[in-house]
C-alpha cells in the first residue's frame, strides 16, 4: 500500500489534496494497522501524513472533506476509537491499532442511512454540502457524548463545525431531531 504525505507546497493550501507519493517502505515509512469502517487495513504511512490525506488518497474514502486543513473548520471530522477528532491534525501513524469511522461507515449493515444522515436530509440542513459529512460525524458524537440536551448545548458543542453557506438554523433542527431519533433507539 502506498501512502501520501501532506502538501509540501506553500502554507495554507486548504482544499488542495497533495498528490499521492509512493514510499518504498524504507526509512520514513511506518506501519499502521488500523480498522477503518470495520475493515482492517495494513498501511505504510509517512510520519507527516495526516489521517485525512491517507483516508482520501490511499483508501479513496473521499467523503471526509479537507476544508481549512488546520483544525478550524471541522469538515474533516471522523471518529477515532469512538471520539470525534479533526483528521487533518491527526497524524495517520497515531491511528495504529485504533478504529477509525468515517461518514462512509455510518450507515447500517442493510444500507439504510444513519438516522442523523436522514435528519440532515429531512431538515434540508445543507446548501452546498461540503461541510455536511463533518457536521454529521460531529453530530453523532455530540449526541453520544450527552452534549445535545438543549439547543444552547448543541450550538456550543457543534461550534467546531463551520458552514459557510450559513445553514445553521436547519443544522440545529437536524441535530435536535437526530438526537431524538438516536435516543429513541432507531440507530444509536
Amino acid at each position: 500500500m502506498v501512502t501520501t504525505a501532506s502538501a509540501a507546497g506553500p502554507a495554507l493550501t486548504a482544499g488542495c489534496a497533495a498528490p499521492a507519493q509512493a514510499v518504498d517502505g524504507g526509512t520514513g515509512a511506518h506501519r499502521c494497522e488500523v480498522v477503518v469502517n470495520g475493515r482492517r487495513q495494513s498501511l505504510r504511512v509517512e510520519a507527516r501524513a495526516s489521517l485525512l490525506d491517507v483516508l482520501r488518497e490511499d483508501l479513496q474514502l473521499t467523503g471526509t472533506k479537507k476544508g481549512c486543513d488546520h483544525g478550524q473548520c471541522g469538515a474533516c471530522t471522523v471518529h477515532v476509537d469512538g471520539r470525534r477528532v479533526a483528521s487533518c491534525l491527526t497524524l495517520a501513524v497515531k491511528c495504529h491499532d485504533r478504529e477509525v469511522r468515517t461518514i462512509e461507515g455510518l450507515e447500517r449493515a442493510d444500507g439504510a442511512l444513519h438516522v442523523m444522515q436522514q435528519a440532515f436530509i429531512d431538515h434540508d440542513a445543507l446548501q452546498c454540502g461540503y461541510c455536511t459529512p463533518g457536521q454529521i460525524m460531529a453530530a453523532v458524537a455530540c449526541v453520544r457524548e450527552g452534549h445535545a440536551r438543549t439547543d444552547d448545548e448543541i450550538r456550543e458543542y457543534m461550534s467546531g463545525n463551520l458552514c459557510r453557506c450559513g445553514a445553521y438554523v436547519a443544522i440545529l433542527e437536524a441535530v435536535r431531531d437526530g438526537a431524538r431519533r438516536m435516543q429513541g433507539g432507531e440507530h444509536a
Binding site: L12, A86, E156
Partner: protein
C-alpha cells in the same frame, strides 16, 4: 513539510530513554499534535523527529486528592473539562477548557501540550514575507506597526507583542499550579508562573524548559477559592474563538469580606498573567461592583496598548469586573 522520524513509546521512562539516545537538535515531544502538526504545515515548526507521548498510560492518570489535584500531562482537555468533580469543585478549570477549542480538538489535545501552545499572531503563523522575531529571530516584528488588534497589553517588548493564546494556563496561574518535569538528566518542579518567558529580545524562546524536558504532570493545590471560581471569556464569536479578553477568578469570603481572591488574565498578555495588585486591593474588603471595578482598573493600570487594541483596556476591565461578580454569585 519535511518528513520526520516518529516513535510512540509506551511509558514516560521509555520516552526519556529514547530522548537520551537520540541527541537530535530537531527532536520534539508530541502530544495530540493540534499545535505542532498545525505549525509544521505552516512551516513555522520543522522538527526532524517526534516522540509521541500519548501512548504513555503513566502520563494519563488523574488524582483528585483532598489537598492537591494532580493531572498527568497526557490527559486530554476534554477528559478534564467534562469531569463531574472538576465541574463541581473547580468550575474555572473546567470552563477554561470547554471554552477553549472545539470538542474535536479537546479530544486530541493534551494538558501538557495545551500549556505549550504557541501564539496565534498572524505574522508568526503567516508567510515568511512578513518578518517575525519568533519565526526568524532578528528579522523584526510586523505586528508592532501592523495589524495588532489581537496583541498584548502586558509583557510585550520592542521585539514582540504576540499574545499567549491559552486559557487553561490562565486559570492555573491564578491557583499556583506547579509542573512536574522530567528529562534524561532527572526531575524537577516548576511553578507554572515561571514556565513562560517574557519575550524581551529573544521572543523565539518562549519557555524555561530545557530542550529535553518533558512536562509529566500538573499539580494544583486545593484552596477554598476554587469552589466559586469562574473563567469568563469574551470573544468575537460566542464559541470556538480565542480570547479578546478573559479572566480567571477564584473567591473566598467570610463575614462579608474577601478572604482570598485569585485573578488571572488571558488574551491580553504575552504569557499567562496574574493580577496581584487587583487581588491585594480586594483582600479584606467587601466585594461590590464598585470595588470589583476599582480592582479591575488597577489590574489594567499598566496596560500598554497598541493602535488597534486600545479597546481591550476597557473590555478587559469589564470582563474582570463581571467575572468577580459572577464568582460572588457562585458562593
Amino acid at each position: 513539510m519535511r518528513d520526520v522520524d516518529y516513535a510512540s513509546p509506551g511509558s514516560a521512562d521509555a520516552v526519556l530513554a529514547r530522548r537520551a539516545a537520540a541527541e537530535a537538535p530537531g527532536l520534539r515531544y508530541l502530544g495530540g499534535g493540534t499545535t505542532l502538526f498545525d505549525l509544521m504545515k505552516l512551516q513555522a515548526e520543522a522538527p526532524t523527529a517526534l516522540i509521541d507521548v500519548t501512548r504513555c498510560e503513566d502520563l494519563r492518570t488523574m488524582d483528585l486528592g483532598r489537598a492537591e489535584w494532580r493531572f498527568g500531562a497526557g490527559v486530554t482537555m476534554g477528559e478534564v473539562a467534562d469531569h463531574p468533580q472538576v465541574r463541581a469543585e473547580f468550575p474555572a478549570l473546567s470552563e477554561s477548557l470547554w471554552k477553549a477549542a472545539s470538542q474535536q480538538i479537546r479530544n486530541m489535545a493534551t494538558l501538557g501540550g495545551n500549556l505549550l501552545q504557541r501564539t496565534r499572531c498572524a505574522y508568526f503563523r503567516g508567510t515568511p514575507a512578513y518578518p517575525c522575531n519568533k519565526r526568524e529571530p532578528g528579522s523584526g516584528c510586523s505586528a508592532i506597526a501592523g495589524a495588532n488588534r489581537g496583541h498584548a497589553l502586558f509583557g510585550g517588548s520592542a521585539h514582540c507583542i504576540a499574545t499567549y493564546p491559552g486559557d487553561l494556563a490562565v486559570a492555573l496561574v491564578a491557583f499556583d499550579a506547579v509542573l512536574e518535569l522530567r528529562s534524561p538528566r532527572g526531575a524537577r518542579r516548576l511553578p507554572l508562573a515561571e514556565l513562560h518567558r517574557d519575550p524581551g529580545d529573544t521572543p523565539h524562546l518562549e519557555t524555561t524548559l530545557a530542550a529535553d524536558e518533558l512536562i509529566v504532570a500538573i499539580r494544583i493545590p486545593r484552596v477554598p477559592a476554587a469552589k466559586a471560581s469562574v473563567y469568563h471569556k469574551v470573544r468575537d464569536r460566542e464559541s470556538y474563538a480565542f480570547a479578546l479578553t478573559s479572566a480567571a477568578v477564584g473567591l473566598q469570603m467570610a463575614g462579608g469580606q474577601v478572604i482570598d481572591v485569585r485573578i488571572g488574565l488571558g488574551g491580553v498578555a504575552t504569557r499567562p498573567w496574574r493580577a496581584p495588585a487587583a487581588e491585594q486591593h480586594l483582600r479584606g474588603r467587601a466585594l461590590t461592583r464598585e470595588s470589583a471595578r476599582q480592582a479591575a482598573a488597577l489590574a489594567f493600570a499598566d496596560a500598554k496598548p497598541s493602535p488597534h487594541n486600545r479597546f481591550k483596556v476597557a473590555l478587559g476591565i469589564d470582563t474582570l469586573t463581571d467575572a468577580l461578580m459572577q464568582s460572588k454569585e457562585r458562593l
